[in-house]
Amino acid sequence: MENPPLRPSTYQVLEQHGVDRRSFIKFCTAMAAALGLDATMVPQIVEALENKPRIPVIWLHGLECTCCSESFIRSSHPIAQDIILNMISLDYDDTLQAAAGFQVEDIRKRIMKEYPGEYLLAVEGNAPTKDGGVYCTVGGETFLSILEETAEKAKAIIAWGSCASNGCVQAAKPNPTGAKPIHALLPHKTIINVPGCPPIAEVMTGVLTYILTFGQLPELDRIGRPKMFYGQRLHDKCYRRPFFDAGQFVEAWDDEGARKGWCLYKMGCRGPSTYNSCSTFKWNNGVSWPIGSGHGCIGCAENNFWDNGPFYQRLSGIPVPGIDSTPDEVGATLAGAAVIGVGAHFVSSVVRRFGQKPAQPTPDSGDKGRGDV
């Protein structure tokens, strides 16, 4: 191109969407307040938003099912179009990219070279580590090597979905490909984990736009999840919670309780152990969510949720490898063993005592003086 590339800034984009300068300044002021900044900082924010180009995003796909991308484009606010055209520069994404083959790989390399430390890396899926990574290759290279290479100069890394955050289904036992979540592969990087299979669309776009709007990463919890969306369990904000507290449960599919929308706890609902925004945002622009449609939560945003099955029981096998029984079965067996042991001891001590009866009269035994003190 003849002219140097002109990148539209956030302001230009807003302007194009009919936002006047007055509203724009107001927006910047509100943002400064939200960030806890002094009013003197407003001009700097205005400046930044007026002139900053859209942030380049490289969206990698490893071992995954593309449900995260599908969820992303289901976002209702903002809509995917707005993000792709106005907020970020989605420079690399196998699923939506017009180009294919080496042209795509060239783009990735160019972005890494031209925007070191400035591009966002979004990872959907994870990498197989077994057998030199042959279980997932792109352009003849292993996904693992591509991930490591691309992560090196990334400004921030977002791990989309349970595959990238937790390992998800391919990492379930026996994990035949040695699939590992991103944080295990990039131990020295700060990674924003956005778990879920898939994550809620508006959670994905919410995380992304938070980073773009505030220029900083969201506050993360102990395992790298944004607190704003993964701070609480579904259970604590579930609209069926009154039935839980009352003790009114669905006992079988399509029973009276199911038709009345009672609590799905006894159908194995993982709401009490799952951190996500399902019970508040719900899915697909708030239309419904798994519990709202009568099926318990399967805990898809939780670490290792596939191995916490069967999904329709409250308890899975006890968390000790090699034992495939519920805690109650194991506990009752141990208690039974204790009773048997104790019983055997008791019987033998009784037998001993009665057996020794004739030999008792010796006054030398410890029995002497019993009751004397």
Partner: protein, 245 residues
Amino acid sequence: MATAIREFDPKDMAQHPDSYFRREYVWELPVRISHWVNAACLIVLFLTGIYISHPILAPSGEAYKNFVMGRVRQIHFISAMVFMVSFLVRVYWFWMGNNYSRSGFPFVWRPSWWRDLFRQATDYLKLERGHVHLGHNSLGGLVYTLFVVALGWAQMFTGFALYSETNPSGFFGRVFGWVLPFLGGSFQARMWHHTFAWGFVVFAILHVYVILYDSTQYGNGLITSIISGYKFYKRGDLKHDRWVS
């Protein structure tokens, strides 16, 4: 049964001092209170805990009229708080009380501890009296360490971590919240908590039996000691003027 109660004879006692029991104040009041509070709490905790995982009552009527599950959970949580306080009192008394309150400490690095452990185990198996500790013997101490102290801590950590889930940014969340990711998530923490609970049942069976057996076989007044504080001993039995067995 075989022993006839005889007239007390001071001369005989002077001649055969080993045959006569003496009395010693072993369990101080905080130990005894803590014991019974723990026992009560554990029974309530276990029963309510099992109910929470397998709720069976199905109240009828509108939800607002009922609070069955909520009440059971409330009782569970209150018992947990009481248990924690009682447990911590006992931990405090470990340092502040008499030597008996420290007895049974697992000195796994001392051969004498292992010898006592072995002796006590064989005594039980051979159905012999051997000698008696006025405090806890090594075997008893080991069982209490594993089934009460370790399990108690484990249940408090997992339990309060699960309790904190309703308010992750609150006090319990800050203190115990790390346990959840440490154990691989909330579900796994719940599984451990549930599994551990059975440990108390196993303990209760062993504990009650051994107490009954000890008391009968050794004549040391073990059962009443946790009410009155006094245990009985004869010469050759061990008083705990130091911790080690």
